[in-house]
C-alpha cells in the first residue's frame, strides 16, 4: 500500500513554523493555541495538535470547573477520609468496606451522543462507565441510569426514549450487569438535550486495586480489545491537512457504536489479568482515546513513554495519525506489562480471543514520544497534555431574572388559586399526581433491564435504593441511590444541589444502609454564560458544603456542560449518587407495606411545612417559581441514623422517604408496592405542624419518611425517636383488607384504581 499521508513530523514542524493549523476548528481558543506554542517552543505537529485539542477540551480538562471543583478536595475532614482508598482524580473513587473488600463507583454523562443517536449513545455511555470501573481493578457488579427526557408527549420523545432505553438495556443486559435503579424525569427543558447519566459500581479486594500509571522503565505498553476506527471523530476531518488524497471515507462518524459482547469478554479478560498480577497499570480508553490513555499513564507514572502509532490495530486503515490519537472507538484498554509477564499476558489474550498489539514502553525521558514508522510525530511533556491544561475562572453573576423568579410564589400565583380541599378534589389530585409522567410507574422501562443477573441483587427499582450483596459469606453489601431535582436547583442552585444530596442520602439510609461516599454528575448549560456559570459555582459550593456536613466525601464524578435546548440552558441538574454500606443486606428495608405488615402502625417521621414552590404539584399546574424546600442537613443526618438503627434492630418492616409528590406520593407508592393498603388520619400532623390537609399531602418538606412499625416495637421506636428529639406522628395502620389508601375524613382510593392511573401513563405514550 502506498503512503497515504504526508506525515507532519516534529522535525518538519520545527522547520516549517508558518504552516497554518486548524486549531480553531478543533475547538482551541487563540490563547490556548499560543500556550501550546510556548510549551513546545515551536508549532505543534498535526498529531500534537490533535492531542492537545481533545485533552484541553472542556470534557477532558474541566477547565471551567477546576477552580470550583477543588472544594470537594478541600472540604474534607479526617473522618471523611478514613475509608477513602482512592479519591477524586483517578478513573473512579474507591471506598473501603472492611474485611479486605472495597467498592468503587462513578456516575458519568453521555448526554449529547444520546440525543444524536439515542440507542448507541446510551449504550456506549454504559460501556464507558463500566470500563472506568474495570480499570480500578474491580469487577463491575451493577449499573444505574438517571434519565431526563423532554415532554412526554413531544413527538421526538418517542425516538429518544425508545432509543435510550433499548440502548441501556441491550448493552447492560449483554454485560450481565443488573440494572438496579435510576430516575426518569420528563420536562420540556430537556427536549433538545436529554440527560443520559450512567452509574456503575464494582467491588474488589484491596490487593487488586489498580491505578492508571505507567511505572517501571522498560515495561511494555499494550493496547487491547476492539480495533481502532473513526468513531467519535465527527464530521469531515479537520485534520485534512495531514492527508493529500481523497480516498478515505469522506465522513468520520460522530457516534460511537458499542459492542457489548466485546466488552463482556474484556471484563472477564481484565479480571484474570488482575488476579494473576499481569498488569502494572491500566487505563480505559474513552473520550480522547489514545491521547488520553498515553498522556495520563505517562504523566502519572515515571514520566516517559515511547509509542509507535503504526502498531495500533485499525478497523479503518485510512485513519491519519491525528485521527488515531483522537478516535473514541469503544471497548479498548491500555495496560503496562512487565517484560517477564508478556508471554503470560499473550496467553490470556489468546484464551479470550482478544486482539492486542504492543505499542511501546515506559522510559525515563519525561517525554511522551509517539512515532509513525520510526519518525517522531509527538514529543511532549505528558503532564502538559494531561494535567496542565488551561484553567479558567470564568465570570459569573446572579441571573437578572432570579429575583423575579424567587418572588413568584406558588401560593400567590394564579396557578396556586383554588387548590383542592374537599375530599373528592384531593382524591382526584392524588390520582392526577400518580399518573403524572414524573411520578408514574416506571416499570415499562425497568422491565427492559435485567435486575437479577449475578444473583446478588437484594433491592432494585422501584425501591428507594438498589442494593447489591458483596460478600456471600457475611451478607455485607452496598446500597446506591441517584437523585436530582432540576426545578429546585433552578430556583436556588446552592440549595438545589444540597437537596439532591439530601434525597439520595435519605434514600440510601431508608433502605438501612450507612451512607459512605458520593459521586456526582453535574449537568449544566454553557459556562461561558455568566448566569449559568453562577448556577454551576453555587451548585458546587452547595454540594461540597453539604457533603462536609453529612460527612460523605465526593470520590469522583463528571461535569457535563453546554447542555441546552435551543438557546435555553437546561435546568441546572446536579445528579448525586450516594453509596451506603450494609453489614448484612438481608436487613434491607422494603419500600412498601408487605402482607406480613398487616396491622402494623404507620408513622410519619419529620416535620411538614408549607413548601409547594418547585413541587411536583406546582409543576402539574404549570408553575415554577419561589423558593425550594428548606435544607436541614442536621435533620437529614438524624433521620438517616434513626432509619438505619430501626432497620438494624428490627423496629421497622417498611420505610419510604418523602420527596417529589410529598406524602401523597409516598403513601401511594407504599400501598402500590405489594398491593397492601393502609388507613391514615393526618389530624395530629395538621395540628402539630399547622398545615391544612392539602399541604400535608402535597408539600415537599425534606427530612421526612414513612415507616411501618410492628405493634411489638412501637414502644422501642417511640423511645428511640423521642430520645433523639426527632418528631414522629402515628398516622395510621397497614390494612390489607381495605385494598385501598384510605385518608380518613377525606377519601378512600382503591388500590386497583390507583394502580390503573399509575401504571398506564408510560405504556399509553410508548406502547
Amino acid at each position: 500500500m502506498s503512503e497515504q499521508f504526508n506525515i507532519d513530523t516534529v522535525e518538519n514542524a520545527a522547520a516549517t513554523p508558518d504552516v497554518e493549523l486548524p486549531w480553531a476548528e478543533l475547538g482551541l481558543k487563540q490563547n490556548e493555541y499560543e500556550e501550546i506554542l510556548t510549551i513546545l517552543g515551536r508549532r505543534p505537529t498535526a498529531a500534537e495538535l490533535a492531542m492537545y485539542s481533545v485533552m484541553w477540551s472542556e470534557h477532558c480538562s474541566y477547565k471551567s470547573t477546576k477552580v470550583h471543583l477543588r472544594q470537594f478536595g478541600q472540604k474534607l475532614t479526617e473522618e471523611m477520609k478514613k475509608d477513602m482508598l482512592v479519591g477524586i482524580g483517578e478513573n473512579a473513587g474507591v471506598t473501603d468496606l472492611g474485611d479486605g473488600w472495597a467498592v468503587t463507583f462513578k456516575i458519568e454523562s453521555h448526554n449529547s451522543p444520546s440525543f444524536v443517536e439515542p440507542h448507541q449513545g446510551a449504550a456506549t455511555g454504559i460501556g464507558g462507565i463500566v470500563r472506568d470501573i474495570i480499570s480500578m481493578g474491580a469487577r463491575p457488579v451493577a449499573v444505574m441510569d438517571p434519565l431526563r427526557f423532554g415532554a412526554i408527549d413531544h413527538p421526538d420523545s418517542q425516538r429518544v426514549v425508545h432509543g435510550v432505553v433499548s440502548g441501556i438495556g441491550s448493552y447492560g443486559n449483554s454485560l450481565g450487569l443488573p440494572n438496579i435503579g435510576g430516575e426518569t424525569i420528563f420536562d420540556p427543558v430537556y427536549q433538545g438535550n436529554p440527560l443520559v447519566n450512567a452509574l456503575a459500581v464494582g467491588v474488589l479486594r484491596h490487593e487488586d486495586l489498580r491505578l492508571a500509571n505507567a511505572s517501571g522503565v522498560g515495561n511494555r505498553i499494550v493496547l487491547f480489545g476492539a480495533r481502532t476506527g473513526g468513531d467519535g471523530i465527527g464530521g469531515a476531518s479537520v485534520l485534512a491537512s495531514e492527508s493529500f488524497d481523497d480516498t478515505k471515507p469522506s465522513k468520520r462518524p460522530a457516534v460511537q457504536v458499542g459492542d457489548p459482547f466485546a466488552e463482556k469478554v474484556l471484563i472477564e479478560c481484565c479480571l484474570e489479568l488482575f488476579k494473576n498480577s499481569l498488569v502494572e497499570g491500566i487505563q480505559d480508553l474513552g473520550a480522547a482515546g489514545i491521547s488520553c490513555a498515553t498522556s495520563e499513564l505517562a504523566s502519572n507514572g515515571e514520566g516517559g513513554m515511547q509509542v509507535e502509532l503504526t502498531d495500533v490495530l485499525l478497523r479503518d486503515p485510512t485513519l491519519t495519525p491525528g485521527e488515531i490519537l483522537m478516535s473514541e472507538s469503544q471497548e479498548r484498554m491500555m495496560a503496562v506489562v512487565r517484560p517477564d509477564n508478556v508471554e503470560a499476558f499473550e496467553a490470556f489474550m489468546a484464551h479470550w480471543g482478544v486482539e492486542y498489539s504492543w505499542l511501546g514502553e515506559v522510559t525515563d525521558t519525561n517525554r511522551l514520544i509517539i512515532t509513525w514508522k520510526g519518525e517522531v510525530i509527538v514529543d511532549v511533556d505528558p503532564k502538559t497534555v494531561a494535567h496542565d491544561g488551561p484553567v479558567y475562572d470564568r465570570p459569573y453573576h446572579r441571573p437578572s431574572y432570579q429575583d423575579a423568579l424567587v418572588a413568584d410564589r406558588f401560593r400567590d400565583s394564579a396557578a396556586g388559586a383554588d387548590l383542592p380541599s374537599s375530599g373528592e378534589d384531593l382524591r382526584a389530585a392524588v390520582l392526577e399526581l400518580m399518573a403524572a409522567p414524573n411520578m408514574c410507574d416506571k416499570s415499562w422501562i425497568t422491565r427492559q433491564y435485567d435486575r437479577y443477573v449475578g444473583g446478588n441483587t437484594a433491592l432494585a427499582a422501584p425501591d428507594d435504593a438498589g442494593v447489591i450483596r458483596v460478600d456471600e459469606e457475611t451478607g455485607m453489601g452496598v446500597g446506591l441511590a441517584t437523585d436530582a431535582n432540576g426545578r429546585y436547583a433552578y430556583l436556588d442552585p446552592y440549595a438545589g444541589a444540597q437537596l439532591a444530596l439530601a434525597e439520595s442520602y435519605r434514600n440510601v439510609a431508608t433502605t438501612g444502609a450507612v451512607p459512605m461516599a458520593v459521586s456526582d454528575c453535574l449537568n449544566y448549560g454553557s459556562p461561558e454564560d455568566p448566569e449559568v456559570m453562577w448556577q454551576l459555582a453555587e451548585g458546587i459550593r452547595g454540594l461540597s458544603d453539604a457533603c462536609m456536613e453529612l460527612g460523605v466525601p465526593v470520590t469522583g464524578g463528571n461535569v457535563s456542560l453546554y447542555n441546552s435546548t435551543g438557546s435555553t440552558a437546561i435546568h441546572p441538574t446536579p445528579v448525586v449518587a450516594t453509596l451506603g454500606r450494609f453489614d448484612d443486606v438481608s436487613r434491607r428495608t422494603p419500600s412498601g407495606f408487605t402482607a406480613d405488615a398487616d396491622g402494623q402502625a404507620v408513622y410519619l417521621m419529620g416535620v411538614t411545612r408549607d413548601e409547594l414552590d418547585g413541587s411536583e404539584f406546582a409543576h402539574l399546574r404549570g408553575h415554577l417559581g419561589g423558593v425550594p424546600p428548606k435544607v436541614d442537613l442536621a435533620a437529614e443526618k438524624l433521620l438517616g441514623d434513626l432509619l438505619i438503627n430501626a432497620s438494624r434492630d428490627g423496629m421497622i418492616d417498611a420505610a419510604h422517604d418523602l420527596s417529589e409528590g410529598g406524602l401523597a406520593a409516598t403513601l401511594s407508592e407504599m400501598v402500590l408496592r405489594f398491593g397492601v393498603g393502609a388507613r391514615v388520619s393526618l389530624d395530629e400532623v395538621l395540628e402539630r405542624d399547622g398545615v391544612d390537609l392539602f399541604t400535608a399531602l402535597f408539600s415537599e418538606s425534606q427530612a421526612r419518611a414513612v415507616v411501618a412499625v410492628p405493634r411489638t416495637e412501637e414502644v422501642r421506636f417511640k423511645d428511640m425517636t423521642s430520645a433523639r428529639n426527632f418528631p414522629v406522628a402515628r398516622i395510621g395502620v397497614v390494612d390489607r383488607a381495605s385494598e385501598a389508601l384510605d385518608v380518613q375524613g377525606a377519601f378512600s382510593l382503591p388500590i386497583a384504581e390507583l394502580r390503573e392511573a399509575w401504571e398506564s401513563t408510560l405504556p399509553t405514550h410508548f406502547g
Partner: protein
C-alpha cells in the same frame, strides 16, 4: 492456562458437605455467557458440586466424562448477533455434550444419556444444536422483558423436574429478548403427545411462545431446555417476590435438586446391584 473456572464473583464457593456433594455438575461458559456464576451457585445451594466447563476445553471428552450432568446457562453467547445460540453450538464442548446426551433429538430413547439443562441462551443453543426441536425468535412485543413469571410443571418425570409435583405452579425469573418458542404444528403436536412440554407459562404468555411453551425435553427426558431462569429463584432474599414476601422465592431450586436426587438414586441402585 488457568481455566476461568474459579473466579468467584464474591464470597466462598466451596460446597457444603451433603450426601450429594460428590455429584459434579458442569456449568458451561462461552464468551458472552452471563448466568454461569448463578447456575454454579444454584448447583451448590442444591447440594451439588459445580464444575466450570470452558467452551474450548482442550480435552472436552475427558472433561465431560468426569461430570454427572451439565447446565448450559443463559447469556448472549458471541453476542447472539447471528441468531441466539447459532455460533455457540459449534463450540468443541457442544459436540461432546450432544454425544453424551444421547445424540440428536429422536436418535436415542434409552434414558441413559447425560442429564443436560439449557436455560435461556442455553435452551437456544440446544435447539440450534438440534438436541431439542423448534427454535426461539424475538419476543412478540419486540422488547427485552424481565419479570417474575409463573410456570406450570407439566411433566415431573424428567431428570430436571422429578422433585416437583405434576401440575405444580412455580414462580421463577424470566428475562430475555428472544424467548418466543416456535415450531411447526406437527412438532408441537408430537411434543404435546409425548408429554415433552415440561414447563408452560401460566396467566400470561410473556413472549408469544406457541402453546404457552416455556420449556421442553427430549424423548428420553434427560435433556431439558427452558426460557425462564430457575437459577435465579434459589436463594431467599435474592429471588422473585413470593407469597412469603419480597424476593423470597426459591421455587427454582427443585430443578437442581431433581437432577441430584436422580443421580443419588441411580448411584444407590448401582450400589445395590453390586451388592447382590
Amino acid at each position: 492456562m488457568t481455566a476461568r473456572s474459579d473466579l468467584p464473583l464474591i464470597g466462598d464457593y466451596s460446597s457444603p458437605e451433603t450426601p450429594l456433594s460428590g455429584a459434579r455438575i458442569g456449568v458451561v461458559t462461552f464468551p458472552g455467557t452471563l448466568d454461569d456464576r448463578d447456575a454454579a451457585r444454584a448447583v451448590r445451594l442444591a447440594g451439588g458440586q459445580p464444575v466450570s466447563l470452558w467452551h474450548a476445553e482442550p480435552d472436552a471428552a475427558a472433561a465431560l466424562g468426569a461430570l454427572d450432568a451439565v447446565v448450559i446457562p443463559g447469556g448472549f453467547s458471541y453476542g447472539d448477533y447471528l441468531r441466539a445460540g447459532a455460533i455457540a453450538r459449534f463450540a468443541p464442548v457442544m459436540d461432546e455434550i450432544v454425544q453424551a446426551a444421547g445424540g440428536r433429538d429422536g436418535s436415542s430413547g434409552s434414558g441413559a444419556g447425560l442429564p443436560v439443562l439449557g436455560i435461556c441462551n442455553g435452551f437456544q443453543i440446544l435447539t440450534e444444536a438440534h438436541l431439542l426441536p423448534g427454535s426461539m425468535i424475538k419476543n412478540d412485543h419486540l422488547k427485552f422483558l424481565c419479570r417474575d413469571q409463573v410456570l406450570r410443571v407439566e411433566n415431573n418425570t424428567t431428570a430436571w423436574t422429578r422433585d416437583y409435583a405434576a401440575g405444580e405452579e412455580i414462580t421463577v425469573v424470566l428475562k430475555n429478548q428472544d424467548g418466543q418458542y416456535v415450531a411447526d404444528e406437527k412438532t408441537l403436536d408430537e411434543l404435546e403427545g409425548e408429554g415433552r412440554v415440561v414447563f408452560r407459562y401460566v396467566g400470561w404468555n410473556p413472549n408469544g411462545s406457541r402453546r404457552n411453551i416455556a420449556g421442553i425435553s427430549n424423548a428420553a427426558g434427560n435433556v431439558v431446555g427452558l426460557m425462564p431462569h430457575p437459577e435465579h429463584a434459589v436463594e431467599a432474599g435474592f429471588g422473585p417476590d413470593s407469597a412469603e414476601g419480597m424476593r423470597l422465592g426459591t421455587d427454582g431450586l427443585g430443578v437442581f435438586t431433581s437432577v441430584l436426587a436422580g443421580l443419588a438414586g441411580a448411584e444407590a441402585g448401582a450400589n445395590a446391584g453390586v451388592s447382590k
